[in-house]
């Protein structure tokens, strides 16, 4: 049966892709950001996940306003990355785990989540860059993925409470997945940032640090905020925090912090990194 090894949450911004492409990891601007990752890579190398369930957001690569899902679950054997229009190099297709995807979809619908099921889905930097940060280098990442895209483009957004419940339901699916696989749950996005409006460049370090603490031991604390509260506290694009909330909820009970990093700024964004080991990694059988 499946073993959920833990969770890694990280920011993503296109500029990271450019920095990787240019080899700027040791550049003074980028070093405090990239230096966060080696401890996480070491932990992942030990934890050896086979599959990554990835909560993330699509930034207008796969979904448009003609049909914008609140939650979209990939159910494909592979996911293609593509040109997003701002010149970061594309990566080779990412392998999927369609069987696990369908198992997750069945749990979600049984738990009254009204997901959109995607047998074809392009994945953008929000999925590819975290994998590149966790498993750098030339080869493809050593995991199959189950991508779960959460609407952060168009209001009304789902609430942090709903995001938490989504993660819990995915956690239930993993707990009953009858396959000998090791799973890491990834949450990408955030932390505080705002790209648009006269408040562009808004960052809220105290709020970010509070969230990173809460996510370890009292993640439900974050469900008291509405989506608009998050906009107010963390900036218009800070709502990506919801992917972190969902990822944490998928782990359920007690976790141990493996590593964390927080650095402001990369591009317009406060960059966070948090790796949590699951203290009760073995799932119950179905």
């Amino acid at each position: 049966m499946a073993t959920v090894v833990g969770s890694v949450m990280t920011s993503h911004v296109p500029a990271i892709g450019r920095a990787i492409a240019k080899g700027l990891q040791q550049d003074p601007y980028w070093k405090p950001f990239f230096d966060g990752y080696p401890p996480v890579r070491r932990w992942l190398a030990q934890a050896k996940p086979d599959v990554a369930v990835v909560f993330y957001q699509d930034h207008g690569l796969n979904f448009f306003l003609d049909a914008m899902p609140t939650f979209a679950v990939g159910a494909a054997a592979e996911y293609v990355n593509a040109d997003e229009g701002w010149g970061i190099p594309t990566v080779a297709p990412i392998r999927g785990d369609a069987s696990l995807s369908w198992h997750v979809i069945e749990q979600l619908v049984a738990d009254e989540f009204d997901v959109t099921t995607c047998q074809r889905m392009k994945v953008d930097h929000a999925l590819t860059l975290p994998l590149a940060l966790f498993w750098p280098g030339e080869g493809p990442p050593p995991v199959r993925v189950v991508p779960i895209a959460m609407n952060h483009v168009q209001h009304p957004l789902p609430s942090p409470k709903r995001a938490y419940a989504l993660g819990e339901s995915v956690g239930r699916a993993l707990a009953t997945w009858d396959a000998d696989v090791r799973v890491v749950v990834v949450g990408t996005g955030g932390l505080s940032h705002q790209l648009d409006g006269q408040r562009a460049g808004f960052i809220n370090k105290p709020f970010d640090l509070m969230c990173m603490d809460a996510l370890v031991d009292e993640p439900r604390k974050l469900t008291k905020y509405s989506a608009l509260d998050i906009v107010r506290e963390a900036g218009a694009q800070g709502t990506e925090l919801m992917a972190w909330i969902a990822a944490r909820a998928a782990l359920g009970g007690r976790v141990s912090k493996v590593h964390s990093n927080y650095h402001v700024p990369i591009s317009n964004t406060a960059a966070g990194l948090l790796a949590l080991a699951n203290d009760a990694p073995l799932s119950r059988a179905a």
Binding site: D83, G85, D196, Q198, A200
Partner: protein, 117 residues
């Protein structure tokens, strides 16, 4: 209906809601097309014709001509699609932020660094 903008009480922060989504559909559809280099190239070649093809209205057309992000947002643009428009001119999100806040890029970057202290 396009004119009743709701106040969400978060200063300087556009909320891309149903009202904006309706108003901005054509503009955002055009920007979404900029995921493809061939479309970016077509825009560069004949901006006027490209905007016409997507049915941009007068305010949108003007905001595009002005490369003005706040105007583009006022005309219903969504920042995630607009970022692809900015990409055509090699502008990154810091350029976009500096323009909206009326700062130089250097000053905008300094403000971000300051936020980390």
């Amino acid at each position: 209906m396009a004119e009743k903008r709701r106040d969400y009480g978060i200063p300087g922060t556009p909320i891309f809601d149903g009202d904006a989504a309706q108003r901005g559909y054509a503009l955002n559809a055009m920007c979404f097309s900029f995921n493809d280099e061939s479309n970016r190239e077509a825009f560069r070649r004949d901006e006027e014709a490209y905007c016409r093809r997507f049915g941009l209205d007068e305010a949108q057309r003007r905001a595009v001509a002005n490369r003005n992000v706040l105007e583009l947002i006022a005309a219903g643009g969504n920042i995630y699609y607009l970022a692809k428009f900015a990409g055509i001119f090699g502008l990154d999100v810091q350029d976009v932020g500096a323009q909206q806040t009326g700062m130089t890029k250097e000053a905008f970057k300094a403000k971000l660094v300051e936020a980390g202290r």
